[in-house]
């Protein structure tokens, strides 16, 4: 599986190939693992890999390489690296790159390109990777000179990891990989000094002194900025209730007395009511995403808004900010010294609502009730638990019902909503944090989109726990068709799925199926006790829905409950 050839040491001032410069520059960045798939236009880099000190993980599809690399960024806040060839290799990366872009995840994608003399001639496996990826990267390069490689790679990491993080693409023509160069030193000009918006902070403090019903609205920007500890201290010092976005789950641990839950389309009733009734919304690192706000013109209708965001272009993009604090979140939150008025009644009201509207698990479903299973899973897995849901109904059940002790305990495709996300991302997350109890949770639809990564799991013996919640449907689409398209179930039936346990076994993975409520406890015992990779296939009710739900075009307080369906 790995080559035993060892690269010869080349003195720093001696010329070496562009490909060698690539791997040396990655090592210099502290990269230990790259996720990739070889092909014609990236072969010189693969030739330079053995003995370089880099661990290469051969996924079975480039999309999986991108998801796995981004998982490293999501877990560590350092850019993960993926590698692919030109043409289809590069286009297969695009979904993973776009996913990282939408969730502001640091990542460096390196693609081979056809040699410069044939670029623009429709050469074999030639595609305009630079152009195709332009809308979904923070920055990108086509390398024109081997000497530039060390500086470009260093700068790419700098750009990917600093400011608002995001993916950076480096497209390297094959002749540049084969050309010799020495490499120009990197001037390190990108990393800015942390900035602090003192004026904005003082105005925010003044706004808070006047508020009677303040509320924190916490988003993924807090996590990307590494400001979780600061935000927790702020929330506890201010004793103001808080809601989180999907990407912000875990900023406050589940069960924290000030935490009202996730807001938005599938948020908790307590969270959505608090948002609709607050008179001051303190947004830290959230972007007023439509899944969080519902009808934007009726979102938080009584509230003034304080918006903390590193990215100035997010301020007033969707909702006018009465007070903008546009700077690095960590120092800003540290310097924010709120002295709220007496809000004890507001606090009590929200606490009582959180208790009143807490989910119940008294088996409303036929067969296994997935929300109860997921809740039990997270409680039994403990603080090391990391859930990596795919996209769909089960994703919302994970968000609603699992317990998270930290944001890295919940790795989800929020912005792009990419089916097929879970399995490769979970592999990357487990490699980034080997001691964590990483659980991939997929639906039957999404699981089929990257099912080939069971081979990666087996190849490297990654001790990952995989759950497939199988309702034999594209469940979320089916739910919307039932609710909003007069029950016209169009192309959502997946009852011809393969037997997932048998498929996993064919890949060399231990697997089993449960289908009755009485089998849940034993199934979780087996899943959590496994030393190696394991898959638990769970047959669930195909008619189960995600509740509550804010219908499209409705305001967040107009939530539908199961009884109203």
């Amino acid at each position: 599986m790995s080559s035993t050839a060892v690269a010869e040491e080349v003195p720093k001032d001696q010329p070496r190939t562009g490909a060698r410069l690539v791997v040396e520059a990655l090592v210099a960045q502290g990269v230990e693992t790259v996720f990739g798939y070889p092909g014609g236009a990236i072969m010189p880099v693969y030739d330079a890999l053995p003995g370089s000190g880099l661990r290469h993980i051969l996924c079975r599809h480039e999309q999986a390489c991108a998801f796995a690399a981004a998982a490293v960024g999501r877990m560590t806040r350092r850019a993960g690296v993926c590698l692919a060839t030109s043409g289809p290799g590069a286009t297969n990366l695009v979904t993973g790159i776009a996913d990282a872009y939408m969730d502001s995840v640091p990542m460096v994608a390196i693609t081979g390109q056809v040699a410069q003399p044939v670029m623009g001639t429709d050469a074999f496996q030639e595609i305009d990777t630079f152009g195709i990826t332009m809308p979904v990267v923070k920055h990108s390069y086509i390398v024109r000179n081997a000497d530039d490689i060390p500086a470009i790679i260093a700068e790419a990491f700098d750009i990917a990891e600093h400011g608002r993080p995001g993916p950076v693409l480096i497209d390297i023509p094959k002749d540049i990989q084969m050309a010799e160069g020495t490499g120009e030193p990197y001037a390190g000009r990108v990393t800015p000094q942390p900035c602090l918006d003192e004026d904005g902070l003082r105005r925010a403090e003044a706004a808070l002194r006047e508020a009677e019903r303040p509320l924190f609205y916490l988003g993924g920007g807090t996590v990307r900025a590494g400001a979780v500890a600061e935000v927790r201290r702020l929330v506890e010092r201010a004793r103001i209730p808080a809601v989180c976005t999907l990407q912000g789950l875990g900023i406050l641990p589940t069960g924290h007395e000030q935490f009202l839950g996730m807001l938005g389309m599938h948020g908790s009733r307590a969270a959505n009511m608090a948002v609709q009734e607050c008179d001051l919304l303190i947004n830290i690192g959230a972007r007023f995403d439509d899944r969080a706000t519902g009808a934007l013109d009726r979102f938080a209708p009584h509230a003034r808004v304080i918006h903390f965001d590193k990215d100035a272009s997010e301020i007033s993009k969707l909702r006018h900010a009465d007070v903008a604090v546009s700077c690095d979140l960590k120092p800003a939150v540290r310097s924010f010294l709120p002295e709220p008025a007496d809000i004890s009644d507001w606090r009590k009201l929200n606490r009582s609502r959180a208790e009143e509207f807490a989910p119940s698990y008294d088996a409303p479903a036929k067969g296994i009730y997935a929300p109860a299973l997921l809740k039990e899973l997270s409680e039994r897995a403990g603080d090391g638990f990391v859930a990596v849901p795919d996209v769909g109904q089960h994703q919302m059940w994970v968000a609603q019902h699992c317990r998270f002790s930290r944001p890295q305990a919940h790795i989800t495709s929020g912005g792009l909503g990419s089916m097929g996300f879970s399995l490769p991302t979970a592999i990357g997350a487990k490699m980034a944090e080997p001691d964590a109890c990483v659980v991939s949770v997929s639906g039957d639809g999404g699981f089929m989109m990257n099912i080939q990564e069971l081979a990666t799991l087996n190849r490297y013996g990654v001790p990952l726990k995989v759950i497939v919640l199988n309702n034999s449907h594209l469940g979320m689409v089916r739910q919307w068709q039932d609710l909003f398209f007069a029950g016209n179930r169009s192309e959502v039936d997946l009852s011809d799925n393969p037997d997932f346990a048998k498929v996993a076994e064919a890949f060399g993975i231990e697997a089993f199926t449960i289908s009755e409520p009485g089998e849940v406890e034993g199934g979780l015992d087996r899943l959590l006790g496994a030393k190696g990779p394991i898959l638990m296939h769970v047959v669930i009710d195909p008619n189960e829905n995600v509740w509550p739900l804010v219908a499209p075009g409705k305001a967040n307080h107009e939530m539908m409950e199961q009884s109203e369906s």
């Binding site: 630079f130 152009g131 990108s140 390069y141 086509i142 272009s313």
Partner: protein
Amino acid sequence: MTIETFTIESDDVNGTLRRIWTVIEQRGWSVRSLLVEEVEGGVETRVQVSPYGTTRSIETLRLQIERLHNVRRVRLERRSRQKPSRWKEIPHAAVI
């Protein structure tokens, strides 16, 4: 038609112009005219843009361009006094 005018100062790097154009089109605006000039140490691009729909903020677009890596500064030169936007694009679906 609502037309806004930017002057964009950027590094002279291949791809910057294309990146600026991409952001404008991606964020719900249309490029109506463009003039690129070399200036000392870089490039100055004067671009006129027009929004799709009535909800686009020119300041948000300015900041979305300014956050690009090789862009140094974006100045809003002439701000339209008209509310955006009376200009209508034929939707692709209608053409098909």
